[in-house]
């Protein structure tokens, strides 16, 4: 029973363009959402988060949007850089954390 879903296993984007990573969830009780970035052979690193009382949170090139009615969140990276190439996991939390399956982003120079 996958409560957090990332339906795109991979995404390729040209350097300088926008990367949009999507995530859907099923549990309306989730009150906090996070994005993690993972390089090979490393653990995930926290990227950005958003509380369910907000619909947008921005940190430099990274912006997370939350649409509670659609149970959907997205991560925008603008402009994309080759160093952004990694696997991105979204996660949602009520009292426990639930992770999506990840989207592998490749930024092409």
């Amino acid at each position: 029973d996958q409560q957090v879903k990332q339906n795109s296993p991979s995404l390729s984007v040209q350097e300088g363009r926008i990367s949009i990573l999507n995530c859907d969830y099923t549990n309306s009780m989730f009150d906090y959402f996070l994005w993690y970035k993972k390089y090979p052979a490393e653990g995930p690193t926290f990227l950005i988060s958003i509380s369910s009382i907000k619909d947008k949170n921005e940190d430099g090139r990274f912006t997370v949007f939350l649409n509670k009615s659609a149970k959907h969140l997205s991560l925008h990276i603008v402009p994309s850089q080759p160093g952004d190439s990694a696997v991105y996991f979204c996660a949602a939390s009520d009292e426990q954390f639930y992770f999506g399956t990840g989207t592998s982003l490749t930024v092409i120079p």
């Binding site: 988060s49 996991f89 426990q96 954390f97 639930y98 999506g100 399956t101």
Partner: protein, 115 residues
């Protein structure tokens, strides 16, 4: 600030053998998590400690998995006996209320292969 340390980084064992993983969280972090990440999937929480007490172990297969966090610092996760389906990366993470309510810091993980 030192990060979350885990050892070993890699382990290969045969099915029915036992294995143990070690985690040293970031100093001062009261909450410690163990996750299992099977290839192609996201991390799945196995157990969460608050200091040396268990907060949530609902997804820990208790017939073969055990974990402890003595003195509220280091933690060990044990599998006994291992099955083929236990092949995964085992991630340890820690968090502190001061770092934001849900910001977890992950270690590099231990990649377990059961043959």
């Amino acid at each position: 600030e030192a990060g979350v340390a885990q050892s070993p980084r890699y382990k290969i064992i045969e099915k029915r053998q036992s294995v143990a993983f070690w985690c040293n969280p970031i100093s001062g972090h009261a909450t410690l998590y163990w996750y299992q990440q099977i290839l192609g999937q996201g991390p799945k929480l196995l157990i969460q400690f608050q200091n040396n007490g268990v907060v949530d172990d609902s997804q820990l297969p208790k017939d073969r998995f055990s974990a402890e966090r003595l003195k509220g610092v280091d933690s060990t996760l044990k599998i006994q006996p291992a099955k083929l389906e236990d092949s995964a990366v085992y991630l340890c993470a820690s968090s502190s209320p001061q770092g934001g309510p849900y910001e977890q810091y992950f270690g590099p993980g231990t990649r377990l292969t059961v043959t």
